[in-house]
């Protein structure tokens, strides 16, 4: 069950790479976060890890509701064009994402631990592989997208990968750490949002390849 959900998370990540509209991308991210919250809930239920419910709730409210709304408002407010204008074209991006997923599976193979195998909450290598793939594809999106908001979104999906890694390896970080991470994430999106707004205002564009005056 968890493996299935994790697979959907991965599919959504690749969908994010594969399509061109900014607002759709934000919604895909919201759906991905929603699934992630579901995974966290399931793990919390089967493994009796009550603190994960809180993390799941925060993931849901913050990443699936609040942040997407903030980002969509930002998109409307700066009134930018809808296309994401990738540096690497879509078919090639998909191919690279496929390659990165393979790398994810290879990396995850080295973390075999036999004691968790047959239970319904079996996390196994699959979930970790998905997490590593999310992380790597997030990286790839950061360097291959021009729009500043897309880079913020890539950073967030990278963070989703980390969250998945944390819950699949250790049933989540200690609660206080988890809370701190969520707080940082919220502040980070606010700060980056303001910066995006200022970039748009100053450069009349959100194309980060125009940020190239400082050299040497």
């Amino acid at each position: 069950m968890i493996t299935l959900m994790a697979a959907f998370v991965l599919v959504l990540q690749i969908a994010m790479v594969g399509q061109r509209w900014l607002v759709t991308n934000i919604r895909v991210f919201a759906a991905q976060s929603f699934l992630l919250a579901g995974i966290a809930n399931t793990i919390a239920y089967f493994n009796h890890a009550p603190h994960l419910y809180i993390a799941a709730f925060l993931t849901f409210s913050l990443k699936a509701v609040v942040l997407p709304i903030v980002l969509e408002r930002l998109v409307k407010r700066v009134g930018i064009g809808q296309e994401i204008a990738p540096i690497v074209n879509v078919p090639l991006s998909l191919l690279i994402s496929g390659g990165l997923t393979t790398v994810g599976y290879i990396v995850a193979a080295s973390f075999h631990h036999p004691e968790e195998s047959a239970s319904p909450a079996s996390l196994g290598r699959n979930t970790l592989a998905v997490a590593v793939s999310l992380f790597l594809i997030g990286f790839f999106m950061m360097i291959s997208r021009r729009k500043a908001i897309m880079q913020v979104l890539a950073l967030l999906s990278l963070e989703n990968g980390l969250f998945l890694a944390a819950i699949s390896l250790t049933y989540g970080m200690p609660l206080i750490v988890e809370l701190g991470i969520f707080f940082d994430l919220l502040v980070a999106v606010m700060v980056l949002g303001i910066l995006v707004y200022r970039i748009q205002e100053t450069f009349d564009s959100m194309d980060v390849t125009k940020l190239s005056r400082l050299r040497g």
């Binding site: 890890a49 603190h51 080295s110 973390f111 631990h113 992380f135 990286f139 950061m142 500043a148 880079q151 950073l155 990278l158 963070e159 980390l162 890694a165 944390a166 390896l169 250790t170 049933y171 970080m173 200690p174 609660l175 206080i176 750490v177 701190g180 991470i181 707080f183 940082d184 502040v187 980070a188 700060v191 980056l192 303001i194 910066l195 200022r198 970039i199 205002e201 100053t202 450069f203 980060v208 940020l211 190239s212 005056r213 400082l214 040497g216």
Partner: protein
């Protein structure tokens, strides 16, 4: 209790500055806050020397000699910068920098940004050093980035927004790697400790059990941590944000980034280094650190030689010093750790001086480009000019100054190690950097009088410069006994003996 007060002071200072109406009030709050902070940090150092370590709230906050050293240095840099900042921003105001650059924002609100974000920034740095939990430490390091983004884009120029964006993005990606490393460390400890409480990530708990951790996981974790906190420390090849951020930020902010944030990032790295060496033995971490350290020093060379701007030159100097400290850690042993921490201390004291001099020159000439400056600054700037030259000699590690001693210690540790070529290469690179640096600054400061009007230096800038310069000179000849004891004890923490 002391730990709590140390963290509470900058928070309170930030909040009251935010509420303050007048510039004078904000300046006074910052000065008083950082002065008090420095005294308390010294008190913490003294207490640690007596007691060994202090804990609060079940070990949520903890300080050993290493944390106490970083806290003391952070407080020192913050105090020096707050004194200089008063003069610096008053001069900016006289030069009408704010009206020209900050769009639609009045002077007072820009200053409020600075005076309320800076204490917050300092708070985050102190939390890095005092948090026992490695997860909380990560949160604090991320918070230093977030608190300083708007300090870097302070002037609101297109270039400063560019610098802030790169800083936030590169820093964000780097720290996400560090978070992955932290998760993996937690995972490898998980099987040993069998706990899901906060203690499972407390350094004081982990360090005892480190030899039992899963070795493959720890290897991967250390690589990720090195890349992550290395990005924050500006180690090559993840250093690209540094010249931009250092040259666009206001001088006091740049000085704090160079002299205090660097320490915090290295502090994070050291904590994981100790765990890794306990788990895997010293070779693994050492090899990686040698590569990154030499790369950082090496990358600096071409950029120093052809540098066009003296603010960016200072950033490359900071990359170079980060590399030297990493090499101290890599050469290892008691001597390498001692050399690294001595270097950390001396660098934190010398670097702000260099930034203050550069700031004075920039405000006087209204440019940071070498080609627009005509040289001969020593005639029109009788205080800043000579001190700039002296600070340059000090920071490149010339014998009477203290950075020579620490570099010498690191090199001795290097020659004691199994490989001979890294320390030899380091010497060659350091000499080239010294030559490049000195040629640039000498051309700027010395030479014929170009006939510029004499610079008028307000007392705040003048005395912060002279005060700090005398500390640098004194440190060259005499290191206070208690401070040296603190450094030596901290080196034992790094060496894993305590």
């Amino acid at each position: 209790m002391l730990l709590f007060v140390i963290l509470a002071i900058p928070l309170a200072a930030g909040a009251t500055s935010f509420a303050a109406r007048k510039r004078r009030a904000m300046e006074a709050i910052n000065l008083a806050g950082f002065a008090a902070l420095f005294l308390l940090a010294a008190a913490l150092g003294a207490k640690i020397l007596r007691a060994g370590s202090v804990q609060l709230w079940n070990g949520f906050l903890a300080a050993d000699s290493l944390s106490a050293l970083v806290v003391l240095l952070t407080a020192f840099v913050a105090l020096a910068c707050s004194v200089y900042a008063v003069g610096y921003f008053r001069e900016d105001e006289r030069n009408h920098v704010f009206e020209a650059n900050v769009r639609g924002a009045a002077t007072i609100s820009s200053l409020r940004n600075y005076y309320s974000l800076t204490p917050l920034f300092v708070f985050a740095m102190l939390l890095v050093a005092l948090a026992n939990n490695l997860g909380v430490m990560w949160v604090a390091i991320e918070a230093t980035t977030l608190a300083s983004v708007f300090l870097i884009s302070f002037y609101g120029r297109a270039t400063s927004i560019e610098a802030a964006w790169k800083y936030a993005m590169i820093g964000g990606v780097g720290l996400s790697m560090a978070l992955f490393g932290t998760i993996l460390t937690y995972y490898s400890a998980h099987h040993v400790l069998e706990t899901e409480t906060l203690a499972g990530l407390n350094w004081s708990v982990l360090v005892v059990n480190a030899p039992l951790f899963d070795k493959t996981t720890m290897k991967l974790a250390f690589i990720l941590i090195l890349l992550g906190y290395g990005t924050k420390a500006g180690i090559a090849p993840m250093h690209t944000w540094k010249p931009d951020a250092y040259s666009e930020a206001p001088v006091p902010v740049a000085a704090m980034l160079a002299a205090a944030v660097l320490n915090c990032a290295l502090y994070g790295l050291i904590r994981f280094y100790v765990l890794t060496t306990r788990c895997l033995g010293p070779e693994f971490a050492s090899q990686l650190l040698i590569i990154f350290g030499l790369l950082s020093v090496g990358v600096t060379v071409p950029f120093v030689l052809v540098q066009k701007s003296f603010r960016r030159l200072l950033a490359y100097s900071s990359i170079d010093h980060g590399g030297i400290m990493i090499l101290g850690l890599a050469f290892g042993g008691a001597l390498g750790a001692l050399g690294m921490l001595l270097h950390l201390t001396f660098h934190s004291i010398t670097k702000p001086l260099l930034f203050f001099c550069a700031g004075n020159v920039e405000q006087y000439l209204k440019t940071d480009l070498f080609r627009r400056a005509k040289g001969g600054l020593i005639h029109s700037m009788p205080v800043s000019g000579p001190i700039f030259l002296m600070a340059t000699l000090a920071v490149t590690g010339i014998p009477p100054f203290s950075l020579f001693q620490s570099e010498f210690t690191i090199l001795r540790a290097g020659f004691g190690g199994p490989l001979l070529w890294p320390p030899i290469l380091l010497i060659v690179l350091l000499v080239v950097i010294f030559i490049g640096f000195l040629v640039h600054i000498a051309k700027l400061v010395l030479g014929e009088d170009p006939g510029l009007p004499p610079a008028d230096l307000c007392p705040w800038k003048k005395y912060s410069l002279i005060g700090l310069a005398s500390v640098v000179v004194i440190m060259g000849f005499w290191l206070p006994g208690p401070l040296f004891d603190l450094i030596r004890n901290a080196a034992q923490v790094v060496g894993g003996e305590r």
